[in-house]
Amino acid sequence: MEGILLATQGAIAQGILWGVMVLGVYITFRVLDFPDMTVDGSFALGGAVCATMITKGMNPFLAVLVAILTGVLAGYVTGFLHTVFQIPGILAGILTQISLYSINLRIMGRSNLPLLKMDTVFDMVQHAVYNLTGLELASVHVALLIGTIMAILVICLLYWFFGTEIGCAIRATGNNEYMVRALGQNTNVTKVMALMLSNGLIGMSGAMVAMYQGFGDVSMGTGAIVIGLASIVIGEVLFKSFKSFFGKFMSVVFGAIIYRIIVAYVLQLGLTASDLKLLTAIVVAIALAVPVLAKYTFFKKLSRTLHYVFARLFGKVKRQEGEQ
């Protein structure tokens, strides 16, 4: 029982850190309606750059910033290939992703770069908290703390950005790019901007995950795109009642956390890490099947119950007794 509890805490921490990546995936897949395959590469890029910079003695916070910038650059390359050379979106992303594999190896100089005895963002915050309050936080709690703050900051930033003139234009591009051009906005610019923003967040998430797991690895991004999609779908299915833009970003991060919890439980049940890809595929398939299954009466009842429970948990349903 204690094992499960510990595993859950770790899963939540991981979920939040990965959640930032999922927000990035959400921007391209849902907001821009662009199937961006850069993700796997830019996630590992963030981790590789951050790990390399830290081992070279750079301040970890600065290293994260550099990781974000390289992610932005990766997004720009995909956008450039797609808009200037009119390479189909999926292919443009795959080209960047595949090239990043070689680039990441060059950056790290090897396929795995450990951060042993190196101070990461988590260590620094842990020390700072200890010095200030005398509280000795476990590393998983530090990760939870930093992850939560980071996720909230990113969500607020995104919420603001997509409410601005240029942010609205990006959202409209995902809806109807003919209209956006007819209204005087260069859609190449909006697409490239969205890709840059998305991959910047993905790079940031990669950096945080690398520091949390204690190493940068050239294959750490493999399958990130599917994990991102799984999290988005889980979030959207479970938190249907979150209709606002802000709520949608929240639901996506919750989706990432729930995905990690599912993974943790399944590992507890005795499956190995190599089974995870199959598990992820099954989770995505189930989540996508839910809207179809929901047409059957049994599932209707089930989903109504679940929705009620979730809404109750998050205070979205007015108490019946209170109204009488």
Binding site: F161, G163, T164, E165, I166, G167, C168, A169, R171, A172, G174, N175, N176, Y178, M179, V180, R181, A182, L183, G184, Q185, N186, T187
Partner: protein
């Protein structure tokens, strides 16, 4: 206001699908001209509008709008001067965004988009007033997603969006063709009202000959990528559908074989 000089456009050059869409097209519009454009399928009506809007580049010739040579300007730059409504009601609006957000996007047509709020609270009152004019009750649904509106409502909204920033030229590409007759009538009345009150210059492609005769001050007929008949003023007002068909036969040497136009 608008001048097309010797415009040529051929699609799929060198292939079996080669299509000479515009051939030596010349047209001159005066300010406040409201021109209806008719012609058979493949005559180049929609292509002409798309070329003016810059959807595709032209092969040769010149397009001058309000004294500016816009021949080589990209679509999004020309948009500052153009209001457009499309045949497909889905084309002119963003379905996943609110009515007021769509209007706010249109309000910023041709302006630089920066990091200030996409929609300011003082604008909303202005949009409410504008929506009232449509008489569709949309002023009370400003935060509804456009995807929830009917085709006619979306066309009316697109029309409003096209004229929210006064355009130098309004391009209407069969904008009532996808609507039922009653809704089409309403959108057409609205079109006339907007063009009249804002004193716009407009080009309206239509398949309905009666509309073409009754609406606007000038009518052009296109055939094979250029204008074969151009009539305005009193002469246009006194036209009959039969006259137009006759004109078509004499000008083109072909029967006017188009069910949609015959039945209209």
């Amino acid at each position: 206001m608008l001048e097309l000089r010797n415009v040529y456009k051929t699609f799929n050059i060198g292939t079996i699908n080669e299509k000479k869409a515009l051939q030596d097209l010349n047209l001159h519009l005066n300010p406040k001209d409201f021109v209806t454009v008719i012609g058979g399928n493949g005559a180049g009506k929609s292509t002409m509008l798309n070329m003016i809007a810059g959807v595709y580049p032209i092969d040769s010739g010149m397009i001058i709008l309000d004294g500016q040579d816009i021949t080589n300007k990209p679509e999004y730059k020309r948009a500052a001067m153009l209001g457009r409504v499309f045949q497909d009601p889905m084309r002119g609006t963003a379905a996943g965004m609110e009515i007021q957000e769509n209007l706010a996007m249109a309000y910023r047509r041709g302006k630089r988009r920066g990091l200030s709020w996409g929609i300011k609270s003082e604008e909303k009152e202005q949009y409410r007033e504008a929506l009232k004019m449509l008489d569709l009750g949309l002023e009370d649904r400003m935060t509804s997603k456009v995807g929830l509106l009917s085709g006619g409502q979306r066309q009316a909204l697109t029309l409003l969006m096209a004229s929210l920033q006064k355009p130098k030229l309004l391009l209407l590409d069969e904008h009532t063709a996808a609507l039922d007759p009653k809704t089409a009538k309403k959108v057409l009345d609205l079109t006339e009202h907007i063009v009249e009150t804002q004193e716009l210059t407009a080009l309206m492609v239509t398949h309905n000959m009666k509309d073409a005769i009754h609406i606007g001050n000038r009518l052009i007929m296109m055939y094979d990528g250029h204008v074969i008949y151009d009539v305005s003023g009193e002469e246009k007002k006194n036209l009959k559908v039969d006259d137009l068909l006759q004109k078509f036969v004499t000008a083109s040497g072909e029967e006017f074989a188009n069910d949609r136009m015959m039945l209209a």
